[in-house]
C-alpha cells in the first residue's frame, strides 16, 4: 500500500459526496475523510516499520515529468494533519445548513485531496499542480457559501485568488527555469542542482513571492483578514488550518534546499520580515472589531513566527516550525469553530455585541479558554513546544530576533485575553446562549485532547519529523 491510496480515497470521497445528494453529503464526506485518516495512519504504521510508501510513475516524457509522491516523515506529518483536520472540520459544520450541501462538501473533500497532494508530491510540476488545484475549491467555497455583503465578498475572494495565483505563477517560472537546468522536476535532481549565486537569488525570490503570499508574510498579507472574515467558517478553517501550512511546508521542502545559499544570504532580511509580521499581526489584532478578523490577524502573527523559524535554517527552527504548524493548525481550527458557535447562537461576529456568555455556557467557555491559552502557547499545550523551539532557534540566530519574536507571548496574551474578556465575560448576556451540543463538543474535545497530549508528550511527532528534516538540512548546509 502506498500513499496514493489516501489521495484516491479523498478524490473518490469528493465524487461520491457530489452524487450522494444534499442530505447525506456531510455524512458521506465525514465517512470518507475518516477513512482517509485511517488510511494515512496505516501508511504511518508502514513508514514506521521502514517500508517505503512513496509512489512514482512516468507521467510525461516530454517534458520529463513524473507522477511521484514521496512519503517521508515530514510529508506524512502534514498529510496526517490534513486528514485529521478534514473530518474535524466537516464534523464542525454539522450545525450549519448549507444550500447545495453536496457541492459544498465535495469541494471540501476535493480541497483536502489537493492539499494532501501538495504535501506528498516530489515532482515540482506535480507539486505545482496540486498547489494550484487547492485554490479553486476554496475560491468557490468562500464565494458561494461565504457571508457578508456579496459584492464585497466577491471583491475579497477574487483578490485572494488573483493574489495567490500571481505569487504561485512566479514560482512556476522558477520551476521552469530549474527544469531547464536540471532536465527534470524531481526533488532530488533539483536539490542536487548547482546554481550560481544570482540564479539562486532569483529562484529564491520567485519561490518567496509565492510562499510569502500564501503564508502570508507581511506586507503580502492583505488578502487574509478579509477572506477569513467573508469565507464560511469551514473555508476559513481549511485556509488557516491547512492551506497556510502548505506555504510553510513548501518553504522547508522546496525553497530552502533548492536555494540554500540565497536563503543564507537573505536570512536576516527574511527572518526580520517574518518577525515584523509577528508584531504587526499582534498589534493589528488588538483593535479588531470582528472576531474572525481578530483570529485572522492572530494567525498572521503566528505564521510569521513559524516562517521565521523556517528561515533560520537551523534544525530547531525547522523542527519547531513543523511542530508549530501542526499545533497552530489545530488551535486555529478550534478558535474559528468557537467563533462559529457564537455566531450560530448570536448571529454576530462583532466582539462588542457579545459578552456575558460565560455564565450561560460553562463548558463552551472552558473549551474556548483552553484554546485561547493554547494559542498563547501556555506551557503544557502543544503550541508551547513549537513556539519554544522556534524561539530557541531564533535566539541561536540572533538575540534580538528572539526578544522581538518573543513579544508574541506578551502581545498574544494581550489581544487574546482582551478578546476573550470582551466576548465571553462580563454581565450575563440578555440573549440566551445554549451550551455546546454533542457534535460541537466532540470537535472541541478532540482538538483539546490532541493539543494537551502532544503538549506533554510531543516525542512521537518529533521522532517522526526529525529524520526528514535532517535530510533536508543536509541539502541546506
Amino acid at each position: 500500500m502506498d500513499v496514493t491510496i489516501v489521495l484516491l480515497i479523498l478524490l473518490l470521497g469528493a465524487v461520491v459526496t457530489y452524487f450522494s445528494g444534499n442530505k447525506a453529503a456531510s455524512k458521506v464526506a465525514l465517512l470518507f475523510s475518516a477513512v482517509a485518516f485511517g488510511a494515512s495512519l496505516m501508511i504511518l504504521n508502514q513508514y514506521n516499520q521502514g517500508i517505503d510508501c512513496g509512489f512514482s510513475a512516468v507521467w510525461m516524457t516530454n517534458p520529463n515529468i513524473l507522477f511521484s509522491l514521496k512519503a517521508d516523515g515530514l510529508a506524512l506529518a502534514m498529510v496526517l494533519l490534513t486528514t485529521v483536520l478534514t473530518p474535524l472540520i466537516i464534523l464542525s459544520s454539522f450545525g450549519n445548513n448549507f444550500n447545495n450541501a453536496k457541492n459544498f462538501y465535495a469541494l471540501v473533500m476535493f480541497m483536502a485531496f489537493a492539499m494532501t497532494g501538495t504535501f506528498l508530491a516530489s515532482d515540482g510540476f506535480l507539486y505545482y499542480i496540486f498547489w494550484e488545484l487547492s485554490l479553486i475549491p476554496i475560491y468557490f467555497i468562500a464565494l458561494l457559501w461565504g457571508n457578508g455583503d456579496a459584492a464585497e465578498r466577491k471583491k475579497a475572494v477574487i483578490k485572494f485568488f488573483i493574489y495567490t495565483f500571481a505569487g504561485s505563477l512566479f514560482m512556476l517560472v522558477g520551476f521552469i527555469y530549474l527544469y531547464q537546468k536540471a532536465g527534470s522536476f524531481q526533488l532530488d535532481k533539483l536539490y542536487a542542482l548547482e546554481l550560481s549565486a544570482t540564479e539562486e537569488f532569483w529562484i529564491f525570490l520567485a519561490f518567496f513571492f509565492a510562499y510569502a503570499i500564501k503564508i502570508p508574510i507581511i506586507p503580502f498579507h492583505t488578502w487574509q483578514a478579509n477572506v477569513y472574515q467573508k469565507a464560511p467558517t469551514v473555508g476559513t478553517m481549511l485556509l488557516s488550518g491547512i492551506m497556510l501550512k502548505m506555504g510553510l511546508y513548501s518553504v522547508i521542502r522546496w525553497q530552502l534546499p533548492i536555494a540554500p545559499n540565497a536563503a543564507q544570504e537573505l536570512l536576516y532580511t527574511i527572518v526580520g520580515l517574518s518577525i515584523a509580521g509577528v508584531i504587526y499581526g499582534s498589534i493589528v489584532a488588538l483593535k479588531q472589531r470582528d472576531l474572525k478578523k481578530l483570529l485572522a490577524y492572530s494567525s498572521l502573527a503566528h505564521v510569521g513566527l513559524i516562517a521565521a523559524g523556517c528561515y533560520t535554517l537551523t534544525l530547531d527552527g525547522l523542527r519547531g516550525a513543523v511542530l508549530q504548524m501542526i499545533a497552530h493548525g489545530f488551535v486555529i481550527v478550534g478558535l474559528f469553530f468557537a467563533a462559529e458557535i457564537i455566531y450560530r447562537r448570536f448571529e454576530t461576529r462583532t466582539i462588542a455585541d457579545m459578552g456575558g456568555i460565560r455564565s450561560q455556557s460553562p463548558k463552551f467557555t472552558s473549551m474556548f479558554m483552553i484554546l485561547v491559552l493554547a494559542s498563547v502557547a501556555l506551557p503544557g499545550t502543544f503550541n508551547f513546544v513549537g513556539e519554544f523551539t522556534v524561539l530557541y532557534s531564533l535566539f541561536q540566530t540572533n538575540l534580538a530576533f528572539a526578544i522581538v519574536g518573543g513579544t508574541t507571548i506578551i502581545l498574544g496574551a494581550f489581544y487574546m485575553l482582551r478578546m476573550f474578556q470582551q466576548a465571553m465575560l462580563g454581565e450575563t448576556n440578555a440573549k440566551p446562549f445554549a451550551d455546546v451540543s454533542f457534535n460541537e463538543g466532540i470537535v472541541f474535545v478532540l482538538i483539546i485532547g490532541f493539543l494537551l497530549f502532544f503538549g506533554l508528550y510531543p516525542k512521537p511527532i518529533i521522532d517522526l519529523i526529525t529524520p526528514s528534516i535532517q535530510d533536508i538540512l543536509v541539502h541546506i548546509k
Partner: protein, 455 residues
C-alpha cells in the same frame, strides 16, 4: 490528399442534398461524413508524402492539425443543427460553407506551394466573410461582415504582395525551393521583404496587436456560431499556417525578426488581457482573450524546431475550451440580441452542468491546472524559456494573472447572482458538444503526452 478530396465531395453532397429535398439529413450526413474523414485522416498519420507536384504535402504535422480541424468542424456542424433551426432553407448553404471552410483550412496546413496556401487562405477568409455577414437583416452582422471583409481583403493584398516578392526572389512558389532559398546566402532582399509582408498578413489573421482591431468588433457582430468558428477554428488555422510558413521561410530566423515576434507577443497578451477587463459582452471578451492567446501562441515561433508539439497542444487545448464555452454561450444567448454577461447570472442555479462546463473552459483558458490550458501555457513557456526569452515568460505570467480577473468575473456571475429568467431546456446537441469538448480538454490535461509525443 484523400482527406481534401473527401471534404470537397462532402461539401458538394451537402449542396446536392438540398436539391433532393433531404434537408433533414444534411447534418447527420455531414456529421457521419466528417467522422469518417476524421478516421481516414488519422490512419494516414505516419505517412509522409506529397501529391500533385508537391501541391499537397502530407506528414505528421498536417495530419495532426487536419484532424484537429475536422474535429472542430464536427463540433461546429453539430452545433449548427439547433442554431439554424429558424432558417431551415439556408442550412445546406451554411453547412456547405463550413465544410468548404474546412477544406480551406486543411489546404492551409497541407500546402506545398504558395498558390495552395493563398487559395486555402482565401477560401477560409471568404467563407468567414460570408458567415460573419450571414444575418442580412441584422445591422450588426452586416457591420461585422463589412469590417471583416474590408480588413481581410486588405490583409490578403499584403500577403499577396509578399508572395509576389518571394516569387521574384525564388522564381518559384514551391515550398521546397523557398526553403532552400531561405537557407541560401544568395537569396535577395526581396525575399525578406516578402516574408515580412506575409508575416504581417498572418499576424492580422491571428489577430495580433496592432493588427487585432477587427477581432472584437467582428466577433461581437457576427452570429454566435460564426464567432465560435472564428475564435476557434480560424484562429488556430492561421496560427498553424503561420507556424508552418515560418518553418519553411524562416528556418534561420534572425534576431531582429525574433525581436519583432517578442514585442508583438507581449503587446498582444497585454492589450488583449487589459482590454478584456472591461467588457460586458462575452463574445467581445473572448475576442480579447483570443488576442492574448494569440500572443501566447506566437511564443511558439521563437523555438521553431522544438515547439511543434507544444503549439499543437496549445491550440487543441484552447480550441476545445473555446468550443465548450461557445456551446454554453449559444445555449444561453440563443434567443437574445446580444451576449451580455448578465445573461449568465444564476446559470449555476438554473443549469449546473452548463455552468460547470463554462467555468471549466474559462478556467482552462485562464491556465488553471488540471485543465489542459494550464499545461498548454506551461509547455509553451517552458520552450520559450529554453529559447532564452525570460522577459517574454514573465510577461506571459503577468498576463495570466490579469486574465484571471475577467474569466472569474463570468464565473462568479454564474454562481453568485440570481438568475433573471426561468430555466430553459438545453438542446441535446449543445449539451453533447459542451460536455464532450470539455471532457476532451480535461482528458488531454491528464494525459498530455498523448498529444505532446505526436509531433
Amino acid at each position: 490528399m484523400s482527406t481534401i478530396i473527401a471534404i470537397a465531395v462532402l461539401g458538394v453532397v451537402c449542396l446536392l442534398a438540398e436539391i433532393f429535398n433531404l434537408r433533414k439529413a444534411i447534418i447527420p450526413i455531414t456529421v457521419a461524413g466528417l467522422l469518417a474523414i476524421l478516421g481516414m485522416t488519422v490512419t494516414e498519420f505516419n505517412t509522409t508524402e506529397s501529391y500533385y507536384n508537391n501541391m499537397i504535402v502530407v506528414n505528421r504535422f498536417t495530419v495532426a492539425f487536419s484532424s484537429l480541424f475536422i474535429l472542430l468542424t464536427l463540433f461546429l456542424v453539430t452545433l449548427s443543427h439547433h442554431f439554424y433551426k429558424n432558417r431551415p432553407s439556408k442550412v445546406s448553404d451554411f453547412i456547405a460553407i463550413k465544410i468548404f471552410l474546412l477544406l480551406g483550412a486543411v489546404a492551409m496546413v497541407s500546402f506545398g506551394n504558395l498558390a495552395m496556401f493563398f487559395l486555402g487562405l482565401e477560401i477560409l477568409s471568404i467563407s468567414l466573410y460570408i458567415l460573419a455577414g450571414s444575418k442580412p437583416l441584422s445591422l450588426k452582422s452586416n457591420e461585422a461582415g463589412m469590417k471583416y471583409f474590408l480588413m481581410g481583403s486588405f490583409a490578403s493584398g499584403v500577403i499577396l504582395f509578399g508572395i509576389a516578392l518571394i516569387y521574384g526572389a525564388v522564381a518559384s512558389f514551391d515550398m521546397n525551393m523557398i526553403y532552400e532559398a531561405s537557407n541560401s546566402a544568395a537569396t535577395g532582399d526581396w525575399f525578406y521583404i516578402g516574408v515580412c509582408m506575409i508575416t504581417v498578413g498572418m499576424l492580422f489573421k491571428i489577430a495580433a496587436v496592432p493588427f487585432h482591431f477587427w477581432a472584437p468588433d467582428v466577433y461581437e457582430g457576427a452570429p454566435a456560431l460564426t464567432t465560435a468558428t472564428m475564435s476557434t477554428l480560424a484562429k488556430v488555422v492561421a496560427m498553424a499556417t503561420f507556424f508552418k510558413l515560418n518553418m519553411a521561410m524562416n528556418g534561420n530566423m534572425n534576431f531582429a525578426y525574433e525581436t519583432v515576434i517578442v514585442i508583438i507577443s507581449i503587446f498582444s497578451m497585454t492589450v488583449g488581457n487589459i482590454m478584456a477587463l472591461r467588457q460586458n459582452n462575452i463574445k467581445r471578451m473572448l475576442a480579447f482573450s483570443g488576442i492574448s492567446h494569440a500572443g501566447f501562441m506566437l511564443m511558439a515561433l521563437l523555438n521553431l524546431s522544438n515547439t511543434t508539439g507544444s503549439l499543437f497542444y496549445y491550440v487543441t487545448a484552447y480550441t476545445l475550451a473555446g468550443i465548450a464555452a461557445f456551446a454554453v454561450i449559444l445555449y444561453v444567448c440563443n434567443d437574445k440580441d446580444d451576449e451580455s454577461i448578465t445573461f449568465f447570472n444564476g446559470l449555476g442555479k438554473n443549469n449546473p452542468v452548463m455552468a460547470a462546463v463554462l467555468s471549466a473552459s474559462l478556467l482552462s483558458m485562464a491556465g488553471i491546472p488540471i485543465f489542459s490550458g494550464f499545461f498548454a501555457k506551461f509547455f509553451i513557456l517552458n520552450q520559450t524559456l529554453q529559447a532564452g526569452y525570460l522577459i517574454l515568460v514573465i510577461a506571459g505570467i503577468i498576463n495570466s494573472i490579469i486574465s484571471v480577473y475577467y474569466y472569474f468575473k463570468v464565473i462568479s456571475a454564474m454562481y453568485t447572482k440570481e438568475p433573471n429568467e426561468a430555466k430553459k431546456p438545453v438542446p441535446f446537441e449543445y449539451y453533447v458538444v459542451a460536455v464532450l469538448a470539455i471532457g476532451l480538454n480535461i482528458a488531454i490535461g491528464l494525459f498530455p503526452s498523448c498529444l505532446m509525443d505526436l509531433l
